[in-house]
């Protein structure tokens, strides 16, 4: 294909990605070093009531002719980055923290030197490190077990396994939440054997639930990929190993696993990227009370603190993280695809 027709065919797709993926990324960078506040004006209003007239002076946002609020924007450098990384506080934050600690101890928890980003990153990494081995081992075990199952049952197992995988993540997380509610099924069953845990009332159990959700949601993916891979294991190599007296474990270790190695790497890389984006279970199961993830941090700063500029700083830090994570995947793809081009 000529370069010109390549460009013609791919133009709509490229333009969409340029406008809605690449451009917003650059814009985030720009937003993260700025801050805008609505312009306020003192307005004196005459109020007439049953007890005579009074003039009240209040602050109001200035608007332009079309009714849009006028904004004062200024360059603030890296101060939101320092803020998110807990390096220093903006004067406004310091005052808020002072006021909060005077009136209310709970608010002080969000106060000085609190490193929101590292906290979010720490749990994101914990989630990744804990779920990955379970997903790989569980998926592999299921795929191997499938070889001993009749064709009819296979269809049932595959269909049932697909459900947790394709279910809407927010619904899946809610389903887990309702199962583990204090008056739900699992606490009830655990109580029968004398264990009482208030799953969503403390950090360790809430984090455990997020991890359980992750394994439940992603293991089927690993299972299906490995199962497909197993169909391609050369049967004559297995036969030869058997004739040479290899035990089942040795057949697995020296014939099957080496054959599956590229798929193990593939599932791991995909899961690393997806685990870095963990969001729905964090929102649903803890509402950020005990734990946050990097995606959740941007989301909550933007929608709960209502600060698009600080959220942009969190977003840029998140993007730096994914950039680092992507290096091995890109290198692998680069090596693979170089041959086809």
């Amino acid at each position: 294909m000529k370069r010109k027709s390549f460009l013609q065919f791919s133009a709509p797709s490229m333009l969409l990605m340029l406008a809605l993926l690449a451009f917003p990324m650059v814009m985030t960078l720009w937003l993260s070093v700025r801050n805008c506040t609505p312009q306020m004006a003192l307005v004196t209003v005459q109020q007439t009531g049953p007890f005579g007239a009074a003039s009240v002076t209040t602050q109001r946002a200035k608007v332009d002719a079309s009714g849009r609020a006028l904004q004062d924007c200024k360059f603030v450098g890296l101060s939101y980055y320092r803020n998110i990384l807990g390096l220093n506080k903006t004067p406004a934050d310091r005052e808020a923290a002072k006021a909060a600690s005077a009136s209310d101890d709970t608010a002080a928890a969000t106060g000085d030197g609190h490193n929101e980003f590292i906290g979010a990153l720490r749990f994101t990494l914990l989630y990744t490190l804990v779920t990955t081995p379970f997903i790989l081992a569980g998926g592999l075990a299921m795929a191997l077990a499938m070889n001993h199952v009749t064709r009819r049952l296979k269809g049932l197992y595959v269909a049932a396994s697909l459900l947790p995988f394709i279910i809407t993540p927010v619904v899946g997380a809610l389903a887990i939440k309702w199962l583990f509610r204090d008056d739900g099924l699992v606490p009830h069953l655990l109580q029968q054997v004398g264990i009482q845990v208030f799953w969503m009332a403390q950090a360790w159990s809430a984090q455990l639930l997020i991890i359980l959700y992750g394994i439940w949601h992603v293991m089927p993916f690993a299972f299906i990929v490995f199962y497909a891979g197993l169909q391609g294991v050369p049967q004559d190599s297995l036969e030869a190993a058997r004739l040479d007296g290899a035990s089942r474990w040795q057949q697995l270790r020296y014939v099957t696993l080496p054959h599956l190695a590229p798929l193990l790497v593939f599932v791991t890389l995909i899961h690393l990227m997806d685990a870095y984006r963990v969001f729905e279970p964090v929102l649903v199961l803890t509402r950020g009370a005990f734990t946050t993830s990097v995606q959740y941090l941007t989301y909550s700063v933007l929608l709960e603190e209502n600060n698009a500029f600080k959220a942009s700083a969190a977003a840029v830090l998140t993007l730096i993280g994914i950039g680092v994570l992507l290096i091995p995947l890109l290198r692998r793809t680069w090596r693979e695809q170089r041959g086809t081009h």
Partner: protein, 276 residues
């Protein structure tokens, strides 16, 4: 020796049965409690048997007008799948036939975009859509979801197009077709299985999206997942039970999807560059 094999066989089937139970339990439990009144759904001690009622569904679909959210989801998903496939087929075809290094580098960039955490784009989307006056419109949400969908759509369709020999294009062109005609009349017709599989994954991505849909729509424009966000924080009993009914309502079409398209989903997953 024989009894040992028998024992391991039993263990294997028990293990698989346990997984079957674990995989389905959260969904089955959700289905069960959605058919109960709050006092029966969450009670202490737990009730194994309770009267069945469709009241939660009636309140949600009739009183809360959940059919509007269903309609929004239908519009969004159908639009996203249609536009994604149209735009993606053109690009996927181009990437499968072009040999230059530009194509290679663009594919790598697309792969990097696929890993993008979606929330990082939100601050800019807010600013952009506010400036254009299209915030809280279905149009903006569809565009965003199509763009997010593109990287994996291109990768997947490209891998399907690679399986179609380039001789087929050449034969068509020798017979007097232009490149565009060859694509439309010869290549696309033999591509249908690949297009269906890719479409399924585009559908899942649009249908399952919560983060972007809930942030970019509100009020009457909300899709189903965005609408049940209330259930996350719901303290009131009625709201919670409506959330349960909503969660089941969202899941039922997905169960039908697995029943009908199981083969395509499995083949799509094993294609390689997949999983949105």
């Amino acid at each position: 020796m024989k009894s040992k094999a028998f024992v391991s066989r039993i263990a294997l089937h028990l293990g698989l049965a346990a997984w079957l139970l674990l995989a389905c339990l959260p969904i089955l439990w959700m289905l069960l409690i959605s058919l109960r009144e709050y006092v029966d759904a969450f009670s202490s001690p737990l009730k194994w048997v309770a009267p069945i009622t469709f009241e939660n569904y009636r309140r949600l679909w009739v009183d809360q007008a959940f059919y509007l959210n269903f309609f929004n989801t239908a519009v969004v998903t159908v639009s996203v799948v249609t536009v994604s496939l149209t735009v993606g087929c053109l690009a996927g075809y181009a990437f499968s036939r072009y040999r230059g290094s530009l194509g290679f580098w663009l594919l790598l960039v697309a792969l990097a975009f696929r890993a993008l955490p979606h929330s990082t784009l939100l601050p800019s989307f807010f600013a952009m859509f506010d400036a254009m006056g299209i915030r809280n419109t279905t149009f903006a949400l569809v565009l965003v979801l199509v763009a997010i969908n593109q990287p994996f759509t291109i990768w997947m369709l490209r891998s399907f197009f690679m399986h179609i020999p380039a001789e087929l294009d050449e034969a068509a062109q020798v017979d007097g077709c232009t490149r565009a005609q060859a694509f439309r009349r010869v290549i696309v017709p033999v591509m249908w299985p690949g297009i269906v599989t890719t479409g399924l994954f585009s559908f899942l991505l649009a249908y399952n999206d919560f983060l972007l849909s809930s942030a970019l729509t509100n009020g009457e424009k909300m899709t189903m997942p965005a609408a049940i966000a209330n259930a996350i924080t719901a303290e009131s009993e009625a709201l919670l039970m409506q959330g349960v009914a909503g969660a089941v309502s969202i899941t039922i079409p997905l169960i039908l999807l697995v029943a009908v398209f199981q083969k395509q989903i499995v083949s799509g997953l094993t294609q390689g560059a997949v999983k949105g």
